[in-house]
């Protein structure tokens, strides 16, 4: 059997794959955070809760309405996105003129309320969500065995990140977003409904998180706690990457996922803190973040 650094190749690649998958989620979630922060200047602490909501909507759709995974991939982001848009319209938008820390505190409270509600209704234990039949099983790649669903997750996350990037960089709507990020007043003076744009952006971010949640459901269990522990790691990812660019957020997400996977191979006890350690190092060496534009 082939080994690499003394570890069986299959096991090594297996851990790297897990790292890549975690990285996919880090990338999608930091993408959502970066999109929201870029325009609204709000750190959406509720992002993890919105991710959790996505997974739960998929679960509940299946349990009560028999709606399968594929429809859930569309419905859950829509539902959670609309919910997010509603929150933005009615409450979050009142905080834009204030110190940005209030936005963080508000979304923190929102996260607590959402998580608390689901914890109360469903307990802290996770519930399983089965892999959709079309993606069950695995493929033998020769050097390792790739579970089909895992491969699907990585592929979809890449497509989602690319798609979001295209939306922002190459479309008219994206031009509105980019311009509004630079100068909201002038963009409104041109006749563009920036308040609506802000609502849309927050809804989009929430929908992205929910989409990631549906993707996550068959891999990690569906639990009310799945969001908040994840979001703190994503914050560290965002500090490492810097909030300057969408691309930066995505690349950093994948990189840190892989770093975590590698650590799991060689030094498993440190695997859940390696992202934070990297964050500490980056803070010493390059405080603005690897791709950061602002100090």
């Amino acid at each position: 059997m082939t080994t690499i650094f003394g570890i069986p190749l299959a096991a090594f690649l297996g851990q790297l794959l897990i790292g890549l998958i975690n990285g996919s989620f880090y990338a999608m979630l930091s993408l959502g955070l970066a999109v929201i922060f870029g325009l609204l200047r709000v750190i959406n602490f509720a992002h993890g809760a919105q991710y959790m909501l996505g997974a739960f909507v998929a679960l509940l759709l299946l349990q009560y309405l028999g709606v399968d995974y594929w429809l859930a991939l569309i419905i859950a982001p829509l539902v959670v996105g609309l919910f997010g848009a509603l929150i933005e319209r009615t409450m979050l938008s009142r905080l834009y003129d204030l110190d940005p820390l209030y936005g963080l505190l508000f979304t923190f409270g929102l996260a607590l309320a959402i998580e608390g509600t689901f914890r109360y209704l469903y307990g802290a234990a996770g519930q399983p969500y089965s892999v959709p039949p079309a993606l069950a099983g695995g493929t033998n790649l020769g050097f390792m065995f790739l579970p089909n669903y895992r491969g699907w997750v990585v592929a979809v996350s890449l497509v989602t990140c690319l798609g979001t990037w295209l939306l922002i960089e190459k479309t008219r709507l994206g031009a509105y977003l980019r311009a509004a990020t630079e100068n909201t007043v002038l963009v409104q003076a041109f006749g563009i409904n920036v308040p609506l744009l802000l609502t849309f952006t927050y809804g989009l971010g929430a929908a992205l998180a929910a989409f990631a949640g549906v993707l996550a459901a068959p891999i990690y269990q569906v639990s009310p706690l799945m969001g908040t522990n994840l979001i703190i790691v994503v914050f560290a990812v965002v500090v490492v990457g810097g909030m300057g660019s969408i691309l930066g957020a995505v690349v950093t997400g994948y990189m840190l996922g892989l770093a975590e996977g590698l650590t799991k191979v060689f030094y498993p006890e440190a695997s859940n803190i390696v992202v934070f350690v990297i964050m500490a190092v980056v803070l010493l060496v390059r405080p603005a973040g690897l791709f950061g534009k602002d100090a």
Partner: protein, 233 residues
């Protein structure tokens, strides 16, 4: 030719600071009006208050007969008013063409894209460059061009020639003459009165947050001494 823009007893505040003290002004359809005055008297503030960027305001602003005070900022352009700010406002994260296409078309009668590129060939040439890579003069052209596409009836310009070379200033003058010929109404703030005197129909002189004089361009030579005194030029 009725008054397209009617401003009466306009007051405005920046927070606690009372900056406009009862501005009165009319702009007839098709006219080109210039506001003169020293720095800090409220010229830019007047433009921004009319546009609706400054919301702490009282008084009367009527555009085409319509009361503009309750209109939210993002609906003002749709009423037919276009704004070119002093700092030009070219977006760094957009290409030249994206900048050009950004303001939505609010009415018919705007210049089609091909005509804009004919008028401003540099913009065609540089259309995929990043917006802020253009020179100051080119950015000013872009800032004006993007409004021309939208079909607004009143064009508000804040110090369009500031900091630009004479050759560009001349170009801007030509563009404004062309617009005037097409019936565009223009309201501008300008320090350079040689430039202004070539295109304006009427002048307002502003001091301490209100208008202190208004006269047609024909009377400009007679008013020069007074202007020298007030403007300290």
């Amino acid at each position: 030719m009725g008054a397209l823009l009617q401003v009466a007893n306009l007051h405005a505040w920046y927070g606690e600071s009372h900056v406009l003290h009862g501005v009165d002004m009319t702009v007839g359809e098709g006219e080109t009006i210039t506001i003169l005055g020293r720095n800090g008297v409220g010229k830019t503030t007047t433009l921004r208050t009319i546009m609706g960027i400054i919301r702490e305001r009282k008084g009367e602003i009527r555009f085409g007969g319509r009361d503009m005070l309750p209109v939210p900022l993002h609906r003002t352009a749709h009423a037919g008013i276009g704004f070119v700010p002093e700092e030009r406002g070219i977006f760094a994260s957009l290409t030249v063409e994206e900048n050009l296409l950004l303001p939505p078309v609010v009415a018919g009668g705007g210049m089609p894209l091909e005509e804009i590129y004919d008028l401003f060939p540099n913009l065609l040439e540089r259309r995929t460059s990043q917006g802020t890579k253009l020179s100051g003069g080119e950015q000013q052209m872009l800032a004006m061009a993007r409004i021309l596409r939208t079909g607004v009836r009143l064009l508000i310009l804040d110090e369009p020639t500031e900091g630009l070379a004479p050759v560009i200033v001349q170009r801007i003058g030509e563009v404004l003459q062309k617009l005037k010929a097409r019936g565009m109404t223009v309201l501008l703030v300008e320090q350079n009165f040689r430039f202004a005197s070539k295109i304006a129909d009427r002048f307002y002189l502003m001091d301490h947050g209100r208008m202190v004089a208004d006269f047609p361009v024909a009377e400009l030579p007679d008013r020069m001494t007074m202007l020298h005194k007030v403007l300290g030029v």
